[in-house]
Symmetry: C2
Subunit: 430 residues, 2 copies
């Protein structure tokens, strides 16, 4: 882990809960007790956390269920040797509430935040599953692309200078500066470690040793990712989710919810849009590893790329539409009044969206690379057991990531990107 470990403040009274102590805790809260119903002794509590950082419990009673997420004072993936501030739960709760306000129906309902136990009690999403898991099984989610687009368009717009006053935004920027340790984690594991020799890194070895070494020696790539890191560190554009991959999205055929914004802070919008696009591309390249004779995934692979296309077009359309009703201090009404003003604003908006598209590709690419060469991998690839087969999927994903990070401005449309994905896939198979 990073050399400068954050000092962890543990609130007096904090203790990690477990399947035995959670029910008595919830029983003390009348509203939560009522949601579960019946006697606490009859509640079923399961710990289901499969993420890298936290405890996650599902609690079921006769009347209903709850989901409880509790922060641990260290990185769960690594252990107590890697401390991580508990107050990330505070920021996650702040972001859930604010994003929920801007994008109603697209986040889980929040019932309680406990600032001592650093836990959030929220709606149990059923029968939702993690989008990534569904995609590994080859399940289509017809609403996901447009719902995620709507979530991002609204949360990013309304927390940016286009959608809020400068005074309110500065106050929120200041608050979320407190989530610095989580930002630092991103800065290290996404923008730095995959491009150097580091104990945290792993990859499918020896199959990808050549590419890992090539990336570590790739000067243009390291310049591009470092420039991107600077942007991540300094561009306070909007309250971003900060970890918006397909593992942070829960879906059914007709409902979509974005969860887990504990990395939230005021950063570049492209980090969110890129996370989704990059993780769709990773899933695309992983499909060959999940294909069977009975389920060869060709059509599904095409659907994954269509989903990326649909997402970007819906995002650009919805985000762009919000410019017309902007209520923030940027692009003031007085400078863009009347028909001529509206026409000029359209040009400004299109230019901003084009810049955001470039950011999207670069941040997405950085996320693709780090999931194959860095500390935290995706089950899209990890669940491909045969390392040769897995590496064959990962290799073109890495190469496309490198291409998009270094040459992003050469790609002006999402179709140019999906074409490149098809091309890199075809060349890898040839």
């Amino acid at each position: 882990m990073s050399a400068d470990q954050p000092a962890i403040v543990i609130p007096e009274g904090y203790r990690p809960l477990d399947v035995h102590t959670l029910a008595p805790y919830l029983a003390e809260q009348p509203a939560l007790r009522a949601r579960l119903g019946g006697d606490p002794s009859g509640w079923r509590v399961d710990e289901v956390g499969d993420g890298n950082l936290n405890l996650v419990f599902i609690v079921r009673g006769p009347a209903g269920g709850l989901c409880v997420k509790q922060a641990l004072p260290y990185v769960r993936l690594v252990g107590e040797s890697w401390p991580l501030p508990l107050n990330r739960a505070f920021f996650e709760h702040e972001a859930l509430v604010e994003h929920g306000r801007h994008a109603p129906g697209l986040t889980p309902e929040i019932y309680r935040f406990d600032p001592v136990l650093m836990l959030i009690v929220m709606e149990l999403l059923e029968p939702h599953i993690i989008m990534r898991r569904g995609m590994i099984q080859g399940i289509r989610y017809p609403r996901a692309a447009t719902d995620v687009a709507e979530y991002m368009a609204r949360t990013l717009f309304f927390t940016s200078d286009l959608g809020t006053s400068a005074a309110e935004k500065k106050a929120r920027v200041a608050l979320f500066c407190g989530n610095a340790a989580l930002c630092k984690l991103t800065e290290d594991v996404i923008f730095t470690e995959p491009y150097m020799v580091h104990d945290n890194n792993r990859w499918t070895s020896p199959q990808l040793d050549d590419l890992a070494a090539a990336f570590r020696a790739d000067a243009p790539l390291k310049r591009a990712v470092s420039r991107l890191k600077c942007k991540f560190m300094g561009n306070a554009e909007a309250l971003i989710h900060g970890d918006l991959h397909t593992g942070s999205i829960m879906v059914t055929q007709d409902d979509t919810r974005v969860i887990d914004p504990e990395f939230a802070f005021y950063g570049p919008m492209g980090f969110d849009t890129g996370a989704f696009v990059g993780n769709l591309l990773l899933n695309y390249f992983s499909q060959d590893g999940h294909a069977t004779e009975a389920d060869e995934r060709t059509a599904y692979r095409a659907w994954v790329l269509e989903t990326a296309e649909t997402f970007w077009h819906a995002f650009a359309e919805r985000y762009g539409a919000l410019w017309a009703e902007r209520t923030g201090d940027a692009y003031p009404e007085a400078l863009f009044a009347g028909e001529e003003g509206a026409a000029s604003l359209s040009l400004a908006r299109d230019a901003a969206i084009a810049e955001l598209f470039t950011d999207t590709l670069q941040f997405g690419a950085a996320k693709m690379i780090r999931r194959i060469l860095g500390i935290a991998h995706n089950i899209d690839f990890e669940w491909i057991e045969d390392p040769d087969r897995r590496a064959a999927c990962e290799r073109p994903a890495l190469l496309l990531g490198r291409e998009l990070l270094v040459n992003a401005t050469a790609y002006e449309t999402i179709e140019a990107v999906t074409d490149a994905a098809r091309d890199f896939h075809a060349r890898a198979g040839a």
Copy 2:
């Protein structure tokens, strides 16, 4: 003023001092009393504030002098109808201390900050004068360009992600978010009001009525300045001075000090570099208005442009040199090791400086325009009494500002900019 006035917090015990109450106050502080020497009844106190916002006193005793700057809870230029937070003095003091640490010898020495009276007691700079005043008189300052370059290179570098850790920077960003009211003032009076009909605006009328109207109807210009406003609002690159025109620089032939950073916050570096370049260009265009038969200012006008060239080259050289000893979290050492890494870092640095140059021109241009069409004018032009003569100087300055704001990327070197200035000047005279 802006519709949403900030609520002004006046600390209990705050009172504006005057020439009678200041000496007894200073006499209570043994260290300050010792600096002045003798009996307080013999101290001479003058109020000399000629800025837009504050009280400024000069106090002299037998042993030495002091400068005392006290914030008023309103904009002095306008009066009590325009409230402005007193805590700007807190931020000014914070910035003076931090910038002084990074650029020793280039800021005034600070003796005391009083958080109740919101005043700063500092070194009396003698025989310094405000650089702008000297330039209006046609005085050359041989050190100014390189000293200001050194000040900016060091203050901007060491407060950016290149020169400090992410954790420390985020904590400072959060603190300076509290200076939001001063940022809002900039957002309004520089990036918005000059481009709309607004009571705050004034210009040499009727001579410049045509250009003022043309700028208000200039869609590409309003798009460019609004994009720049967004950058100002969201790009937390470094702790910038925030008001670095030639009126914030005190000079002698062999000493230079940067004063008055009450607008300081974490913003785009180009806002500082641009302020200096833009104000040099304003002074250049003003020289014809100060020329007399005995002092026709042709050579001085050339010196002003040379100063802009010297400044930019010195800034780029010194800022660039600091990249080699960067100690911040951006562009990590591990990714740029060895000879090859150093060569790659040079390319990254040059690209970053080229981007900063474009920002410099655009922010500088916005500052040129606002000083001619907006609320706060420069004495460079204001001291030209004849309105026809003044307008003849202001017109090409406005036109160059418009050109640089809209077409900044067409200017790759500072010489291209000074050539354009000569060209706009010549065409105006023709």
